[in-house]
Symmetry: C2
Subunit: 360 residues, 2 copies
């Protein structure tokens, strides 16, 4: 039994599902059992486009996937507005849940999802892949080093990409009935997660969304920014946009050290990622140069971050299935905190950039 892989079903034939299909194939403890889409034709096309094994079951509905007793877990990359419904249905059918981000339209919806998972004893995890790259714990180690990094004072995070005109006109991520959070949910999610990660997941007390967000004609966010504040004086800012060249920068500054990342969500190179740190940086005697300068740290990885995500999720599922363990609460807790900040930023934007308290 210990060698039985976790059997996955995928709900929806989204583009991101292609990447997760490969990740399920690469993860040693997972296997893809079924793909369900709104029609058998769409699901079949996805299967053939992605060279899926003939053993993968093709379903013409999402129901069929969650009803399949031979499936242990579902990966749900559906539009955000559909998360609540399908996540809850899946949990009630005792399917462990790997849910794409943003996890919900707001934290009230997420709490229903989390309650359904908890009530049915299934593992919840969101699809924030970079959390699982081996670079991430290395960075954590630096950020928690009281001597080399010190006390966190400031984080800035940017995630932008230049969507083409087809995306701006038709993508689900700019449709108010599908992904009402727009760029804030799609890429701002990652900025907020990186900020919370740097802050050791301590929630900010307040946020102030920056004025002048760019909205489309349906008032969906195409570009926005925000600042975040903690009671101990820490501050953070982020900027997320569909309207600028692909950029992924996170800078975290402590009293003694600085972290720089330029590809925090998806590393430039799948096989090795790097990050830059500097500690106790000073100028030389005449202030004509630095000593020390920043150092580059390279972190190779055999498995992609998404395969590691599937692997960690499957490990937890197997612990529950095979050893009767309880679901790991760290993952829904982190998702919830990210959603709480999203909600506060959205509320601040909706109130014309007033300071808003972050919920608990």
């Amino acid at each position: 039994m210990a060698n039985k892989p976790v059997r996955f079903g995928i709900l929806g034939a989204a583009k991101i599902a292609r990447k997760v299909c490969r990740a399920i194939a690469d993860a040693p403890n997972a296997t893809l059992s079924a793909i369900g889409s709104r029609s058998v034709e769409k699901a079949s096309k996805f299967a053939s486009d992605n060279g899926l094994s003939a053993e993968v079951k093709i379903y013409g509905s999402y129901e069929a996937v969650v009803d399949d007793p031979e499936i242990d877990a579902v990966y749900v990359p559906l539009p955000t507005s559909l998360h609540l419904r399908w996540a809850v249905v899946a949990a009630k059918k005792k399917k462990h849940l790997l849910l794409e981000k943003p996890v919900a339209l707001n934290v009230a919806e997420f709490d229903e999802i989390a309650a359904a998972c908890e009530g049915n004893g299934v593992q919840f995890m969101d699809g924030t892949m970079w959390m699982h790259h081996p670079r991430t714990p290395k960075i954590s180690q630096f950020l928690s080093d009281a001597d080399q990094f010190g006390q966190l004072k400031m984080v800035n995070s940017i995630y932008t990409y230049a969507a083409d005109s087809e995306f701006i006109a038709n993508d689900i991520r700019i449709k108010p009935d599908l992904d009402g959070l727009g760029a804030l949910g799609d890429v701002g999610w990652y900025c907020i997660r990186s900020i919370l990660f740097a802050a050791d997941f301590q929630l900010p007390t307040t946020v102030l969304a920056l004025p002048n967000p760019v909205l489309n004609e349906s008032d969906v966010i195409l570009s926005c920014g925000s600042s975040l504040f903690w009671d101990d004086g820490k501050v953070a800012t982020f900027h997320c946009s569909f309207l600028s060249n692909l950029t992924m920068d996170t800078t975290a500054i402590g009293t003694n050290g600085t972290l720089n990342l330029n590809d925090f969500v998806i590393p430039y190179d799948e096989k090795e990622a790097y990050f830059f740190t500097s500690s106790k940086s000073r100028f030389n005697e005449l202030a004509t140069g630095w000593k020390p300068v920043s150092s580059k740290h390279v972190v190779p990885t055999e498995l992609s971050q998404e395969a590691r995500m599937v692997g960690e999720f499957s490990r937890l599922v197997k612990e529950i299935k095979e050893k009767g363990s309880k679901p790991e609460k760290k993952w829904p807790s982190i998702s919830r905190k990210t959603q709480l900040v999203i909600d506060a930023v959205k509320a601040s934007l909706d109130r014309g950039s007033k300071v808003v308290e972050v919920g608990q």
Copy 2:
């Protein structure tokens, strides 16, 4: 006459003056003629500490320097609150003026300085050294490339350093009667300049200082941030602080390209500086990596950026002295714009983070 170097006098024995002494020695068209401090002892000590030639005149007052008819230009690294007085006196004595930043406590003061310079036909330039590094025009070229960079959408700039307890207690940069602008004037100046540089010196329309700045007991800024807004939708943010590890990041993002700098004010290495650009960045087919990734551009320099600053200033002075040219207006114009933004950020902070229009 064409080979006669510009004769400099320095007002004040500030630490930064040591670096500029060396720059004057290195610049081929400049020579140090005099150093004046509040006492002959202080000026003598500065001269011996810095191995100045015996030909450099030692004065026990600032007046003596500006009164010396054998001096063409003065470099003024005095505390900001003294700029107005001494800059105007120097201009009236027909001394060309290289003035440290921030140029004044506010733009009204700066306008008096600029008027005195214009009325007396002397060149004005502020001490923002990085403007003169050969890296700067290379970056300009990238930012103005409509294909490779496109239209500017966002700039983020950070300049922080970890001041020691002696600085926090006693440095002139945190004394309200000496440098009332604190970190905003000392390091925020550079952030604002880098943002204006990226925006081709187009002023933002409004600014919103971020809430919760850190002030000392005399209400001088130790750490603050701000956002800036242009009518065409461009946005910028900056963070400046005396309370965090030395960090100097500027990121500028256009519709087609991204610029990253990690040492924008003082390059890590005096002999060569670099910057990173990326253009039309995309993910690969499965979004498991980037193509293209960012490119590193290395710009060597024979002369330090401060020697190049002194050289360019001296070239302009010689044009005026030897050819009857008019002073170059670009430099006071850029200083004034930087000060206008400083003033707006300070006003926004003073009004509890209200949106403030930038003056003209």
